[in-house]
């Protein structure tokens, strides 16, 4: 971890902001109604951010390609998740696939 102060500042921002979101909805409840469309959009934005994180962490390392073993493991996990396998199975299968591929010399 490079800059501890900055990381702590980031953590504090995230924690305080999240609490503010949790509180403000309750406080505003009597006064405003939140359009369902805006709610769906927020949900969509969260999923898009996380999907982008999945893609970049699965496929890239620094500014380049991460190699085959990692995305292959993630793909196996993704297929299992799509077929509604239990969470633990998904995660272990992903790690195991990548580990076995590396053991076989695929990187």
């Amino acid at each position: 971890m490079k800059d501890t102060t900055l990381v702590v500042a980031g953590m504090a921002t995230l924690a305080a902001g999240t609490y503010a979101f949790r509180l403000s909805g309750q406080l505003l409840r009597a006064r405003i109604s939140f359009p369902p469309r805006a709610e769906k959009l927020l949900e969509g934005a969260a999923v898009v951010l996380l999907a982008a994180l999945v893609a970049t962490t699965a496929l890239t390392q620094g500014h380049g390609f991460a190699g085959l073993a990692r995305p292959a493991g993630v793909l196996v996990g993704g297929v299992l998740a799509w077929r509604k396998a239990p969470f633990l199975v998904v995660v272990i299968a992903a790690a195991a696939t990548t580990a076995v591929l590396r053991l076989l010399g695929v990187h």
């Binding site: 949790r22 369902p36 982008a52 493991g73």
Partner: protein, 225 residues
């Protein structure tokens, strides 16, 4: 009650992977430990860890995490008064999360809503940090994390978490577009920014939504805890 216990157990396992991944990404144990107690919102913590580990700016990572957590505002609007007053409100506000909100909304009467909300909220408050610390301890004991494929765990965990939302075709399309944008941008932009740039794909949702089904009540996104 059984469902609440099972949910908390699942949260514990996600916490385990979270702690292990955070340590494997180069964070000291106190980072996932403090985050899991103080933020108590898994998806945003994963996002924060992911962006900072990729050498992104921690403040930008926090803002991205806040965007993910903005859904707590409509949660508060949707819930009846389950928290109470005074210190109960302070603590009750903190344990608002996808799971506690879902369980509260599923009950009929206010006392039952309140009981479900608190049971699930407190359960998550114990299981999430507990899992994270345990996972971080396990992760610290493993030295060569890439040999165990731990780096594949992180994207797989998040993928599993957002999978229920991805079954909606419109959301899936936007998510794929966002992922493509982030991948294309990765060679050219500083770390952390490609993920944020992916938000451009939300425009796909804005443009297509007016005709979308209004009769479907929007479910709290169970995935992204």
């Amino acid at each position: 009650m059984r469902d609440i216990a099972l949910t908390c157990l699942a949260v514990l396992f996600i916490g385990l992977s979270y702690g292990a991944i955070a340590v494997a990404s180069g964070f000291p144990l106190w980072v996932p430990a403090a985050q899991s107690v103080l933020v108590l919102a898994g998806a945003s913590e994963f996002l924060f860890i992911g962006i900072v580990a990729a050498a992104g700016n921690p403040i930008a990572a926090a803002l991205a995490g806040l965007l993910v957590n903005a859904r707590h505002l409509p949660y508060g609007l949707a819930l009846p008064d389950v928290t109470g007053r005074g210190w109960r409100r302070l603590l009750g506000t903190h344990v608002m999360n996808d799971e506690s909100v879902v369980f509260a909304l599923a009950q009929d009467e206010l006392p039952r809503k309140r009981a479900a909300y608190w049971a699930c909220g407190l359960g998550v408050l114990i299981c999430w940090p507990g899992g994270a610390v345990l996972g971080a301890l396990i992760g610290s004991a493993v030295h060569d994390t890439s040999a165990f494929g731990l780096d594949a765990m992180f994207p797989a965990v998040i993928l599993a978490l957002i999978m229920p939302s991805l079954r909606d075709r419109l959301t899936l399309r936007a998510a794929l577009a966002g992922a493509a944008i982030a991948l294309i941008a990765t060679p050219f932009l500083p770390a952390g920014l490609p993920v944020l740039l992916a938000l451009v794909a939300v425009l796909l949702l804005v443009r297509e939504q007016p005709a979308a089904t209004p009769e479907q009540p929007s479910q709290p996104e169970q995935a992204a805890r």
